[in-house]
């Protein structure tokens, strides 16, 4: 690529981190996506405080078209759509972040242990990943979520608490979505660790008598951070998409709580030949589309910046 040539001139005087930052800034699409993401997050965090409506406050004013009072209109229960979209986006982003975190922990540990142990352990662990890969992930997530849901219900009933019920739904999504999204991460980390463990500095560590756990945690894992960050960034949008997909099917967030997916589902449920409530679909869908787009390009930009070999 031509910008790589331009960077070569002053490459000697800069750290890899600075170079990555420069590469990222040269990528205008990624930079715009980054700013868009920042704006969206600020909007989600601050927005609801500035709006006079509560997300679950019912009113007589049903199916109101967008107006000065309700910027994005109201829904079938007369709730303000703008504040619901912002709250829904909070939930969607939260599920995306935490789910990606769960997948990060499982994937990195699994991949690192497999790559570092090598041999038979590696073989067994990676065959497991292959088997899980050959399960269609959407199908797997549906089966997993319904199974976990029943287990959770029993568990909560045993503790005699109902306050946790709504939070349990979120917890369920975190665990379920994280549990199906770690496979790529595990494969990538394993590949990296496999090549790292033959390096001279690891040999030196062994010669100094450092324990295996310490070598893995202190000397190998810091070296895979770049790749891990990249795939973390690319996992978040895919988990958000899964979540909205599940919520759309009624398996995700339960009312009155809402996520972008369940808002879209609610809008789609109001399609009828007599009147069209277009705002109930267009706004949540637009918000979801914009978020996914920005996250994907941001992730792509990070990959090109941090992992130049991938180009």
């Amino acid at each position: 690529m031509n910008h790589a040539l331009a960077l070569d001139a002053d490459a000697r005087s800069q750290s890899p981190g600075q170079l990555a930052w420069l590469r990222f800034c040269k990528n205008r699409l990624a930079l715009v996506s980054g700013w868009t993401l920042l704006a969206l997050v600020l909007l989600i965090l601050i927005g609801p405080a500035l709006i006079a409506y509560e997300p679950n406050a019912l009113s007589e004013n049903q199916f109101a078209a967008p107006s000065a009072a309700h910027w994005l209109g109201t829904d079938d229960h007369g709730r303000d759509l703008l504040v619901r979209v912002l709250y829904g986006a909070r939930i969607s982003l939260l599920v995306g972040l935490v789910g990606a975190g769960v997948s990060l922990i499982i994937g990195v540990l699994w991949g690192a242990v497999a790559g570092y142990a090598g041999g038979r352990v590696d073989n067994a662990m990676m065959r497991t990943v292959d088997v899980l890969y050959s399960l269609p992930s959407i199908v797997f997530v549906i089966v997993l979520i319904t199974t976990l849901e029943a287990l959770f219900k029993n568990w909560l009933a045993g503790m005699g608490s109902t306050a946790l019920a709504s939070a349990s739904r979120l917890l369920l999504l975190f665990v379920g979505l994280g549990a199906v999204s770690w496979l790529t991460m595990a494969r990538i980390v394993r590949g990296q660790v496999l090549s790292l463990r033959k390096k001279a500095f690891i040999e030196a560590g062994h010669a100094l008598g450092i324990s295996n756990t310490r070598i893995l945690l202190r000397h190998i894992l810091p070296n895979v951070t770049g790749v891990v960050i990249v795939y973390l960034a690319l996992t978040i949008p895919s988990i958000i998409l899964y979540e909205s997909f599940l919520s759309y099917l009624g398996l995700g967030i339960q009312p009155p709580q809402a996520s972008l997916g369940s808002l879209i589902a609610a809008g789609a449920g109001q399609i009828n030949p007599i009147r069209i409530y277009w705002w109930m679909i267009v706004f949540p869908a637009g918000f979801l589309g914009l978020t996914l787009l920005a996250l994907n390009f941001f992730g792509d930009g990070l990959r090109d910046a941090l992992d130049p070999k991938s180009e």
């Binding site: 997993l144 997909f245 759309y248 589902a265 789609a268 399609i271 009828n272 069209i276 679909i281 996914l292």
Partner: protein, 304 residues
Amino acid sequence: MYYFKRILALVPLLLVISLLAFVLVRVAPGGPFDKERAPASPEVERALKAKYRLDQPLWKQYVLYLGDLARGDLGPSMKYRHHSVGDIIKQALPATLMLGCLSFGFALGVGIPLGFATAARKGQWVDYGGSLLALVGICVPAFVIGPLLVMSFAIKLKWFPVALWGSPLNAVLPTLALGLFYSGRIARLMREGMLGVLGEPYIMTARAKGLTERVVLFKHALRPAILPVISYAGPMLADLLTGSFVIENLFQIPGIGVFMVTSSQNKDYPMVVGLVLLYALLLLVLNLAVDFLYSRLDPQVKYE
């Protein structure tokens, strides 16, 4: 020989998957008969459990299931009492296959030319317009584009029916909704592939010896550039076949997707395991097909 081995390797893989699904659905508390309208007397419940072998230990249930499976019997559905899982799948599969294949054709038919054209006219308005179109396709998931299409083309403009399945007109909107995302992905892959190939020295040679741009693009660049598209096509078809439930749900298409969600909620054990197996088989076979096609198209790829 290599492919023979690969096909043989599918058997243990499918066994592991079936075991996983088998155990996973049964671990969950609650049984398939919990939601019956009238609470059954203990005798009736016992009889039902005996009939579906739920009174036996898990390992024995699985062994018996495998025995049935070897004879091609996926077992009876516990929810739709008078049908076997095999019958239900046989009845519902054609609609799903049809929808998946139509969307597959649509994605390739739109994506490849779009990607080709944007790469061939790089930096011109065709490129910007086409790339923007592909972007929009990628960032809008099927369950978003579906309702929007229904709203505008079925309800407002009345060009197509709102839902149901059967006539060719019924198929248009679901195909579009399902295929749009993938056509965007294909267009991007194709564009990247073409741009990569067009930078190769042999393309310069082809141009230097005075071949027309047309021959260079179609004869020399197209074949290597299409390889990434092919390797994506297998998982894509699998995604289209397994991921169509939202679209089936929205357009009320009588496919298998509807059963996937309801049967896992109803704890219809044989149905869930049967569907998981079906989906896994589809995915595995398609991946194999891609590898095969790849070795045919790219002489550098050789499998032992």
